[in-house]
Structures are given as structure tokens and as C-alpha cells.
């Protein structure tokens, strides 16, 4: 029997991330991506969390090692719900996000509502 080869892709539910603090979310994502996994986040990250993730990624880049992440999310949508308006002046709804190692995940095309990516099984 030929052993199956490939990459691991984890689909992370909104509920799973909602139980984590922003620091825990970023740490979780970095650890998973550094181990070679592709993550699909059902709800994505807030813009501030995305910025924090970029910052953390930069601190971990090493020559001939981890070269960073490929992250693709749709532009945020303004939360027009009644609750959203009450809670925040400019509440944003984050949307589905794909994150993976930069040397394995490559975005082919992206627009407002569609992300097309290529996942390489070789580094």
C-alpha cells in the first residue's frame, strides 16, 4: 500500500477561536503554521489581530528556515446589525481567512468574495 502524502489542513471553527484571547489566537496560528499546517479560519481575525500576527511572524523568520506566512482574508465588512451599532462606533465583521507557511501556500487570485490558492506538497 502506498502511504498517502500531502499536507494537513485544519478547518478552525469560529467557536474554537472565540474561546481564545488575542495573544492565544496568534500563538496558536503561528505554532500550527510553523509545523506546516494550512489553517482555514471560519471567522478570521480582527484587523488588530492580523497586524499582531504579522508582527509576531517577523520575529520568527530565520534564514533557511521559517520564511513567513501566506495569509489571505477578505476585506472586513461593517457590522450593520443593531447590536453591532450599539456596541461599537465602527464594528467590523471579520471573514474567512486562510493562513499557511509562505513556502507552501501561494495565492493565485483574490477578489472581494473569492480566494484561489495553490498548496504545494513540496517545500
Amino acid at each position: 500500500m502506498i502511504p498517502m502524502q500531502g499536507f494537513q489542513m485544519d478547518l478552525v471553527s469560529e467557536h474554537r477561536l472565540s474561546t481564545m484571547s488575542p495573544v492565544e489566537k496568534v500563538r496558536f496560528i503561528i505554532d500550527e503554521v510553523k509545523s506546516g499546517k494550512i489553517l482555514v479560519l471560519e471567522k478570521g481575525l480582527s484587523p488588530e489581530e492580523e497586524a499582531h500576527l504579522i508582527e509576531m511572524t517577523m520575529t520568527l523568520i530565520e534564514p533557511d528556515g521559517f520564511s513567513g506566512i501566506e495569509m489571505e482574508s477578505y476585506p472586513s465588512e461593517v457590522d450593520t446589525s443593531f447590536i453591532g451599532k450599539i456596541l461599537k462606533k465602527n464594528a467590523l465583521k471579520s471573514r474567512l481567512t486562510v493562513i499557511g507557511p509562505a513556502d507552501q501556500l501561494k495565492t493565485l487570485k483574490k477578489d472581494r468574495d473569492m480566494i484561489s490558492a495553490l498548496i504545494s506538497t513540496t517545500k
Partner: protein, 211 residues
């Protein structure tokens, strides 16, 4: 008399501290090679006669944020004074091999990559200390990059003003309308920072957004 004079001076200092209007701090952001420093140089040269930094076709030429304080821009009879911060190009990945492909040796490429990562961190940290952002995009490239999405999201979350600049419209393949369609909720100006094309409109929009 000395006591009264000291009281007056202290009161005056306190008044200045309380009511002195600080210049708005405007960051120039964007992916590497979008033309941020070219635009910063254009602004600073046009209004102070000086320059901000060097430019290069190799990515991550700017690896330290540079601030120029008190740049006064006069346009359409009004005047605004801004602190301009030219930031390093934002990226989610930096691979030193890409610099080697541009002809740099390995040691130099690794050093540049290391400095580039530090520059990205600096640029991200600046996001929390700004009053507005000029987001420079290369009009020949796909505008839906993660860097653009993240910067726009951060400005929207903080309810801070943003001006999108579709740069490099002097190039035949430029498509500023693609950028406008991608982010229709924000004002956009098409310019060539290199050639100065449409730069007056840019200054007018700058005064309108950040004045």
C-alpha cells in the same frame, strides 16, 4: 513681582500644553516597491526642498521608519501642517533568496532580510500612533493583497482617515480603476509620484482628508 511672573509663565506653559494643536501624524503605508518613499520624497521636496530617503527597484529599500515633522502644505487657499512618517514596506513573508536573485551576495541578502523584518515590525507598531494613513498601491499590481486589507481594516476599526493612492499611473499597464473598484468605500487619487502626474489633486485630497 517674581512670583506673579513665574505664575504667568507656568500658566502660559500649561495653557500651551492643554490647547496646542499637535500636527496630525500621517503614515505612508503599502507593500514593498509600491512607491512609498518616492511619494514621501515628492511631498517633502515640494514643500520643504529636502528629501526623505533613498529609493531602489529592490524591495525593502526602506527598512527604518522616517519621520519628517512640520511639513506645511498650501493648497486651494488653505494650509495644513503634517508630520509625515515614511514606513518600511509591509509583508507577511521575507525570504533572503529573493534578494540574492537581485544580485546581492548571501551575507548581504541575509542582513537585508533581517533588517526588513525589523522594519515591518516598526511599521506595524506605528499603526497605533497615527492620525491617518496614506496607503500607496502599485496600480499595475493586484490591489487585494493582505497588506492592503490589513491596513485598511486597522484604519476602519479605529475610525481614522485613509487616503488610497494609486501610484505608477505613468506605466501603460496601470489600472487605477481596479483599485477604486476594490475599495470603493475610501477616497482614491491616481498619481505618478515619480513624474509628479496629478500631484496637485493629491495635495487637495490630502488637505481635505487630514486637514
Amino acid at each position: 513681582m517674581g512670583v506673579i511672573r513665574a505664575f504667568k509663565r507656568n500658566f502660559s506653559d500649561l495653557f500651551k500644553k492643554l490647547f496646542k494643536k499637535q500636527n496630525a501624524r500621517i503614515g505612508i503605508y503599502g507593500p514593498p516597491n509600491a512607491g512609498k518613499t518616492t511619494l514621501a520624497n515628492r511631498i517633502v521636496r515640494d514643500w520643504t526642498g529636502d528629501a526623505m530617503g533613498s529609493v531602489s527597484h529592490i524591495a525593502h529599500e526602506t527598512r527604518r521608519a522616517r519621520r519628517r515633522e512640520g511639513v506645511t502644505i498650501n493648497t486651494n487657499g488653505s494650509s495644513i501642517t503634517l508630520d509625515i512618517i515614511d514606513t518600511p514596506g509591509l509583508a507577511t513573508k521575507i525570504d533572503f533568496h529573493e534578494f540574492m536573485e537581485q544580485g546581492m551576495d548571501e551575507a548581504e541578502s541575509k542582513r537585508r532580510a533581517k533588517e526588513a523584518t525589523e522594519g515591518v515590525i516598526e511599521a506595524v507598531k506605528w499603526l497605533e500612533n497615527l492620525d491617518g494613513v496614506i496607503l500607496v498601491m502599485d496600480a499595475t499590481e493586484d490591489p487585494f493583497t493582505q497588506v492592503n486589507v490589513t491596513v485598511i481594516g486597522n484604519m476602519e476599526a479605529r475610525s481614522l482617515p485613509l487616503l488610497i493612492v494609486a501610484n505608477k499611473v505613468d506605466l501603460a499597464e496601470a489600472s487605477p480603476s481596479t483599485i477604486r473598484d476594490a475599495f470603493p468605500q475610501h477616497p482614491m487619487v491616481s498619481i505618478s509620484a515619480l513624474e509628479g502626474k496629478n500631484i496637485e489633486t493629491f495635495y487637495e485630497e490630502l488637505a481635505k482628508r487630514f486637514g
